[in-house]
């Protein structure tokens, strides 16, 4: 007997179909896994990741996953229990730190810490990598490089296939890449971010993704430092805590370092989620002469998301939309309008609103954005539900993760030649990007094969 079902349904992978990565039947669109020359390596500077997620465990490079949250010079959460980190074949970042004395000293310390005989952890300090509190990184990793998976299920909870495994038909933009998670805190600490970028270079990542901002006290709100007030820059007057001289130097060096690294390998940054002019820092470093890529968000109808910055961005990519109800724009969910339309002007952009979300991987079980109803740890002998393994994600974080996977796929397929530097890789991305609308010529969206983004929300 066919059960009654809900009529209104959306494709969970619309964002990959719309960008030409998958066909509507979720097969590679004019490319094949067999064509992968060499799987691309993506360094992901974000939070920790639930590395055992069934769709992610094949994507995460456990031996190189690095945590800077709790340990100053980093720890290896994927190597817990081993005596030493072993020979990992690090790259050479010396040229990057020329003229940057603070970065040079940190590179020296980091290089010593990465010696083969070093312990994965620093003494008694544990990495801060509990999967339970790894929601953001888990979503980002899935959008970049999740693989379709089969997982054992508990027959007492799920009526699944007779072979005892449940298919999880989900994948990221590049289901062949490997991801090196570099987990960080949101402590505004320049040293931590310098080490994260240096490490991303040392692992010789093909792509670096930064789905977050960096709260540099001088570059996050640069306009405040341009206002002279009571004889001082306003930014200095209102700072809640002192910034030591050493940190001032390091913040400057970090900005230079990011640009230098971007010449070697593309640095893909989230542009911000609050209509920031020219995007947040360091996305706002993007320019024609560097490899920083600033990514805005586009909804499933092909309109820039209400919250996305617009000026100065490199590309736009799919994400979830949000309502806006202010002098800048009125873009409201039709569902809300059915309830009340009080105060809604006749002239509005409600038709631009899309309720399509971007589905990402989530922390299985209790943690994450969509927590399981089960209050106990995930059973080892089979999952009880799969809803908590995925979530509805959004913001320019989601968009930049999709672009990171897109570029990783381009690299893996050899469409970005292996010797290409960050600027050449960015040029390839731009060559694959087209305007979605004639009236928004600057809003360009990547499409594998150079086609045009296909709106999924009619």
């Amino acid at each position: 007997m066919k059960p009654y079902s809900i009529r209104r349904k959306q494709d969970a992978l619309w964002h990959l179909v719309a960008t030409g990565i998958l066909t509507s039947t979720h097969q590679p669109d004019d490319w094949s896994v067999d064509e992968i020359v060499k799987p691309a390596r993506v360094a992901m500077i974000d939070t920790s990741v639930a590395m055992d997620h069934p769709n992610l465990c094949g994507a995460i490079n456990r031996s190189r996953a690095f945590d800077l949250f709790s340990t100053r010079l980093g720890a290896f959460p994927g190597l817990s229990g081993q005596d030493s980190i072993g020979a990992q074949g690090w790259g050479d970042a010396q040229a990057l730190v020329a003229g940057l004395p603070g970065c040079k000293a940190l590179l020296q310390a980091l290089t010593a810490r990465l010696a083969p005989d070093q312990s994965p952890h620093h003494g008694t300090i544990q990495p801060a990598a509990s999967p339970v509190f790894s929601a953001h990184g888990t979503a980002i990793a899935g959008l970049i490089g999740a693989r379709p998976a089969r997982v054992a299920y508990a027959t007492s909870h799920i009526d699944g296939p007779p072979d005892g495994t449940l298919p999880l038909p989900y994948c990221g933009a590049d289901p062949t890449c490997e991801i090196v998670p570099i987990s960080t805190s949101f402590d505004p600490d320049p040293e931590q971010m310098i080490l994260a970028f240096l490490y991303a270079d040392l692992v010789e990542a093909d792509v670096i993704v930064l789905p977050r901002g960096i709260d540099d006290p001088f570059r996050s709100e640069p306009q405040l430092h341009a206002i002279d007030w009571l004889g001082q820059p306003l930014g200095e007057l209102v700072t809640p805590a002192s910034v030591p001289d050493r940190d001032r130097e390091l913040w400057s060096e970090l900005a230079e370092l990011i640009i230098k690294i971007s010449h070697r390998r593309p640095v893909i940054c989230a542009a911000g989620n609050a209509h920031e002019e020219y995007g947040i820092y360091p996305a706002n470093l993007a320019s024609d002469d560097n490899g920083v890529i600033s990514v805005g968000a586009l909804n499933a109808k092909g309109w820039p998301c209400s919250y996305s910055p617009e000026a100065g961005l490199t590309v736009w990519a799919p994400s979830s939309d949000a309502e806006q109800f202010d002098s800048g724009e009125v873009r409201l969910d039709p569902e809300r309008l059915k309830e009340t339309d009080l105060g809604v002007p006749d002239e509005n952009d409600n038709h631009k609103y899309s309720d399509f979300g971007v589905i990402a991987t989530d922390v299985p079980g209790r943690g994450g954005y969509s927590a399981s109803d089960f209050d106990t740890a995930e059973p080892v002998d089979g999952i009880r539900e799969y809803g908590s393994y995925f979530c509805d994600f959004g913001g320019t974080s989601a968009a930049c993760a999709i672009v990171a996977g897109f570029m990783a796929l381009g690299r893996g397929l050899g469409r970005i030649p292996a010797p290409a530097d960050g600027i050449a890789a960015k040029a390839w991305l731009l060559s694959q990007s087209r305007p979605v609308r004639a009236d928004l010529p600057n809003v360009i969206v990547p499409h594998l094969g150079g086609g045009v983004f296909q709106p999924a929300d009619p």
Binding site: H26, I125, P161, L166, Y170, F356
Partner: protein, 289 residues
């Protein structure tokens, strides 16, 4: 390598109730699509919108439930039951935190140099333009939650009981942990090293290194950074914690090295707190996601 055969036979669809796993194949398909064909296997997935913008505005609209401001009160009513369960877990894991590599405190000659910096702050603090900082120091002498809640915009809204409870339990546990480390080195307070210092507040009876105000405040900031990394308030909370810690230097009851040690200890102990406070953190997280 990616196995796209799974994608040939199955797909996920998003419905208003959650994620639906659909078999693409006909019921007699040998791959197993039959048994789950056209049936929704789970509606566990809440359709969350993760976006670090305007979260509070939306939250307040939806989350006030039947509460109003007086349910939580303006401050004095905030409190928790003795966190016996968390304390028990903390001591169960004592081997994981009692030997964290906090640097040795400075020597007495070094402390005297540090105290000179505090004398400079003391001289400045008496100036009229520092009246605001004096007020902060007085308020922060006791546990004062607004500094921790304001960055998230939940200072005066109901619906965040578990988040506030998490902050209070974190404070309670780290207070005790801090005393343990203070006792190890028994570093004298600045005015014991430099008699010309006249602390703006009475120096507490316990040792100086590390600063518990710094340790507790940064511990809350690191816990919240794990909980809500994408919330702009999580960065602001670090700055707020630093301000609270530096105010203790301005008050002449802590050296700058005490602040630094409190920050280091908070960073190092986070993975342990994450285990001890997992239930509390999950309950708090549920108020935001």
């Amino acid at each position: 390598m990616a196995d796209f055969s799974i994608m040939k036979t199955h797909e996920f669809l998003v419905t208003p109730l959650g994620l639906e796993l659909i078999g693409r194949a006909e019921p007699d398909d040998a791959t197993g699509g039959a048994s789950i064909s056209r049936s929704a296997k789970s509606v566990q997935m809440a359709l969350n919108r993760n976006r670090n913008r305007n979260r509070n505005r939306n939250r307040n609209r939806n989350r006030n439930r039947n509460r109003n401001r007086s349910d939580i009160g303006a401050g004095p009513d905030w409190g928790i039951l003795e966190p016996w369960e968390e304390r028990a877990k903390l001591y169960e894991l004592r081997a994981e935190w009692m030997d964290l590599p906090l640097p040795l405190p400075p020597s007495l000659p070094e402390l005297r140099e540090h105290a000179t910096e505090l004398l400079k702050k003391q001289a400045l603090l008496s100036l009229p333009q520092y009246a605001g900082r004096r007020g902060e120091i007085r308020i922060e002498a006791e546990l004062e939650l607004s500094r921790y809640l304001r960055p998230y915009g939940i200072e005066s809204h109901g619906g965040y009981d578990a988040t506030i409870g998490l902050i209070l339990v974190t404070m309670a546990l780290t207070d005790e942990i801090g005393l343990y480390f203070k006792d190890r080195w028994n570093v004298p307070r600045p005015n014991q090293v430099e008699p010309r210092l006249r602390p703006y507040l009475a120096a507490p009876a316990h040792a100086s290194y590390p600063s518990n105000h710094a340790f507790q405040s940064f511990a809350v900031a690191f816990v919240m950074s794990r909980l809500l990394p994408e919330h702009p308030g999580s960065v602001q909370l670090f700055l707020s914690a630093r301000r609270i810690a530096e105010n203790r230097e301005w008050a002449g009851v802590h050296y700058a090295c005490d602040t630094g040690a409190g920050h280091k200890l908070a960073r190092m102990i986070l993975p342990v707190l994450e285990k001890v406070l997992e239930k509390n953190m999950l309950a708090a997280q549920a108020e935001w996601f």
